[in-house]
Amino acid sequence: MRTLRPTLIGAALLGAALLGAVVTAAPARAQEETEPSVNWSFSGLFGTFDRAAAQRGFQIYNQVCSNCHSLRQAYYRDLIGIGLSAQQVKDLAASKRFPALTEDGQPTDRPGLPSDHFRDPFPNELAARAANGGGLPPDLSVIVKAREGGPDYVYGILTGFIDAPAGFKLMPGLNYNKYFPGHQIAMPQPLRDATVTYIDGTSNALDQEARDVVTFLTYIANPELEERHRMGVKVVLFLLFLTGLSYAVKRKLWANVHH
């Protein structure tokens, strides 16, 4: 114990110091209000996507968000991962038209395929800006990874539209959102109670709609999440076993060494 104690204390201090550095290094968010903390199906070590919520979320993306926001990293075939059948995905992709060329090189269009990326709502950035008062609706493929706060932040934005407080100078064409940095957001409130009607009869209150679309967007940003969690559990369990085994071997080997 004589030599063990200082070593352990040293290890603990150094570990704590490094951990402290790492934890606090996560940059502080310059936001007046912290977004609500939602209990997501996909969080935690065993988290999986609530399939029904993700499918409802896709319905919202398809009917509402996709009018302005692209999802260009995602494929239609990704929807199989939230429980759509191959035939459903095929029909859905086929309902979208994609630019193509005829055999003699004339511009035309063709039906989409499951292997196509989600179609962009606008042909280019200029068109997108022109249709949105100069603002560019961001691509949503990795939006939950591209914002501090992740899913909670996106949920906060979707539910954070309120009337500007008295005395707040809102620039023309912008909207007030309590969770958006600076509070002035170009996007008008996209979701309200009963913006969509769910085919499965789930309540279409704003809170539910926001949860569903965030679940969908989190899936699109992390399509590997469930496989990653499953593999992680196996890997960590295996490593714990291997640690125990190697530690036992070490103890046995060192048993006769005075050190």
Partner: protein
């Protein structure tokens, strides 16, 4: 010496090889029977952990490079393709990304261990210098790797860091343009960073080889900081330390796996999932966490050249630590005053890291300045002066002597099982 080697290996095929190229005898000598002090604690496993991490980084990196496209219009999308379309691409990419953080954690512990136990002192000065060179190359490699995904932080970190060279009088501007390959960070910059990011790990590998070669000339330091006096003080590296290091590697992999599988983006910055946009500066440009202390030192003085000089000085000063520390006693265990200041140094580095993550306003400015001042005070003033003045504790006669309790054992005690360190 020319001539065939007289190998002791029995197996005829291996013997045939060993006679012509005694690499097997070398491995046996350097990693088999290599006499290693028997009193290592687990801090001595971190060199091995760093080696393991370097191999993981090279292995994952080589495969990632097969699917990555170093072009400003395609780099971001190619990383997303790796995450979505390449078989286990997400695993490779997250392991590589978090591997960089793990590499720095391990190397920082390894360096602080060296500082605490005086591992840089005669005759291990060159070993230490090679280590600092490894650290420098590692930082360059990590920085260029951070640029490759071509997100907002990639682009703006590249802009900020390369611009540091513009602080150099007269030749600063031409140097920066030479680094960029143009008049701003752009496609030529990305191309060369990718090329160098692929090259430097092999330079690292060569440096690590020299680092280990130098280690095997001097032998390892140990927690007591005294040289082994004979065979009673050492153990053959295999199986004793191969097995002990295996335990450390297993525990290390658990931490690594938790990060990769469950918190893969925790240490990253959200803005790097936004494609690079030269027209839009992020509100708060920060480097990856492992550079934050240096970032704080950079911003500690109001002069650009001064900040740059301090930042590079903070790394370069490590090269001369073997001569700044005048104490003949290696281990801080026997240096009661230095030991306290060692922890002050650790704390000031952590404080610098926190300061680096914050906007340079309010309390963070003086805090960063005090911590920076302490950092340089510690190396430039404290180490030389304290080494001369400090009354060190008496050193044990030998490693095994210290282990056995410092004297001949009284009769009754000897029968008791030895305590394990």
């Amino acid at each position: 010496m020319v001539g065939l080697f007289h190998s002791d290996i029995k197996n005829p095929v291996l013997r045939w090889i060993d006679t012509r190229l005694p690499i097997l005898t070398m491995v046996q000598k350097e990693y088999g029977v290599f006499p290693t002090p028997k009193n290592f604690n687990y801090f001595w496993a971190f060199g091995g952990l760093a080696m393991v991490t370097l191999l993981i980084m090279i292995a994952t990196g080589v495969v990632l490079a097969m699917a990555y496209t170093p072009n400003t219009t395609m780099a971001f999308d190619s990383v997303e393709r790796i995450m979505r379309d390449v078989n286990y691409g997400w695993l490779l990419r997250y392991a590589h990304e978090n591997g960089a953080s793990m590499f720095f954690i391990v190397v920082y512990v390894h360096m602080f261990r060296g500082l605490y136990y005086g591992s840089y002192k005669n005759p291990r000065e060159l070993l230490w210098i090679l280590g600092v060179a490894i650290f420098l190359v590692m930082m360059a490699t990590a920085f260029m790797g951070y640029v490759l995904p071509w997100g907002q932080m990639s682009f703006w970190a590249a802009t900020v860091i390369t611009n540091l060279f513009s602080a150099i009088p007269v030749v600063g501007e031409p140097i920066v343009q030479w680094l960029w390959g143009g008049f701003s960070v752009g496609n030529p910059t990305l191309n060369r960073f990718f090329s160098l990011h692929y090259l430097l790990p092999f330079v690292l590998f060569a440096l690590v080889f020299l680092h280990v070669a130098a280690l095997h000339i001097t032998g390892s330091n140990n927690p007591l900081g005294i040289e082994p006096k004979g065979p009673q003080d050492t153990l053959p590296f295999h199986p004793y330390y191969t097995v002990k290091d295996s335990v450390a590697i297993c525990v290390y992999f658990i931490v690594f796996a938790l990060l990769v599988f469950f918190f893969p983006n925790y240490l990253g910055h959200a803005d790097n999932y936004i494609p690079a946009n030269p027209l839009l500066t992020p509100p708060h440009i920060v480097p990856d966490w492992y550079f934050l202390p240096y970032y704080a030192i950079l911003r500690a003085v109001p002069s650009k050249l001064g900040g740059v000089a301090l930042m590079f000085g903070a790394v370069l000063i490590l090269f001369v630590v073997p001569w700044l520390d005048t104490s003949k006693v290696r281990s801080a265990k026997f240096r009661p005053i230095y030991r306290v200041f060692f922890w002050v140094l650790v704390i000031s580095c952590v404080v610098l890291g926190v300061v680096g993550s914050q906007q340079p306003v309010g309390i963070w400015v003086p805090l960063g300045q005090v911590a920076t001042a302490y950092y340089f005070f510690h190396f430039l003033l404290l180490m030389p002066v304290l080494g001369k003045l400090e009354r060190t504790l008496p050193l044990p006669e030998s490693i095994s002597h210290a282990v056995l309790g410092g004297g001949p054992l009284p009769n009754g005690v000897a029968a008791k099982p030895m305590e394990k360190a």
